[in-house]
Symmetry: C2
Subunit: 199 residues, 2 copies
């Protein structure tokens, strides 16, 4: 089975939108999706950009566009009061889980996204992340411990470095056999690429 | 007939892509397209962004994405050596023509885009703009004069100010009854909005 790399930031609503569709889309063409949470902020050191929500003009657009996009997809959405945040803890928890059980890690990622953008709860807080863990049948205390574990921190840092090396700078950012696609609007191009092998 | 406002920068390949589709798309729903060239650089003073082509990481993506997008749409494309440029002269020529003959102005805009991105010729040069004029049956000398005319310069400045006031910051950027859509990937959402009156 071929691999599609799905880079996203847990603090990105467009990443959330893509996360609700990517597995089904890729599965149709017998691609397995490798979910790769990272911090878009890492790339922003190189690009000089700020989160759109904190950028003049883009802010007003995002506030209109994001709920409108959610309604179009029919996915639950509310803009969290804590948006945008640095999603290191959730990402580290994900990679800790992935070492043990990749499918459970993916379930955790989906549940984390739902908690943040579907319910507007602050996933940078340990108690919220513990609730996510419990909902997924994960040992909540061990998960929180892992988010502070030195080895896991280093693992997550290396995942961010990998993303930078591959030229990944946005969320969602998808690599199909090395071919880059940036943005939740590009899933139709990703699908066409999977279907036809390029154009 | 209702009006769809189509903001674009003659130096934007994504604006070029949208320009090849927008009239046909809008016409299906009995919308008339008001073509509004402006300088994205005006908004960049507010957003602090640089052209993507001049931004680390984005640059490499754009170099892959833009020709790939052109192939998907089946439109002629080559990245001009003079890309990106400040497209003031072409934009002023457009507004001068629009005062006299809006349809001819639109023809000039399409021909200008084709000259720049379809043939890779430098539309910031008077002789290239003169050729565009001749191809469209426009008095080339008068057009070049108009691009230096004080009143036309002021008119173009006011169009840029209007764009800023309306929150326009990208290319293409489309307003449908005040609803904003940014990007060549959003034409499917524009179409859905025209079709359904919103969601």
């Amino acid at each position: 089975m071929s691999i599609l790399e799905f880079y996203f930031d847990f603090s990105s609503p467009y990443g959330y939108f893509a996360s609700t569709q990517i597995d089904e889309l890729a599965g149709k063409y017998r691609y397995h999706v490798d979910w790769c949470p990272y911090l878009v902020g890492t790339a922003m050191k190189a690009t000089g950009h700020q989160p759109l929500f904190n950028t003049p003009m883009f802010h007003d657009y995002v506030v209109t566009d994001v709920p409108r996009f959610a309604r179009l997809l029919g996915v639950p959405f509310q803009l969290p009061e804590s948006f945008p945040l640095v999603a290191s803890a959730a990402s580290r928890g994900y990679y800790w889980l992935q070492e043990q059980d990749p499918e459970l890690a993916k379930k955790f990622a989906k549940c984390t996204y739902h908690t943040f953008f579907g319910e507007g709860r602050d996933i940078s807080k340990s108690d919220e992340l513990q609730k996510v863990a419990v909902d997924c049948g994960i040992d909540a205390d061990r998960l929180i411990e892992a988010t502070q574990d030195r080895r896991i921190k280093q693992l997550f840092k290396s995942k961010n470095d990998d993303a930078l090396t591959k030229g990944v700078f946005g969320s969602p950012f998808i690599l199909v056999d090395g071919e880059p696609f940036w943005g939740a609007d590009r899933l139709y191009q990703v699908e066409k690429w999977l279907q036809s092998g390029g154009w």
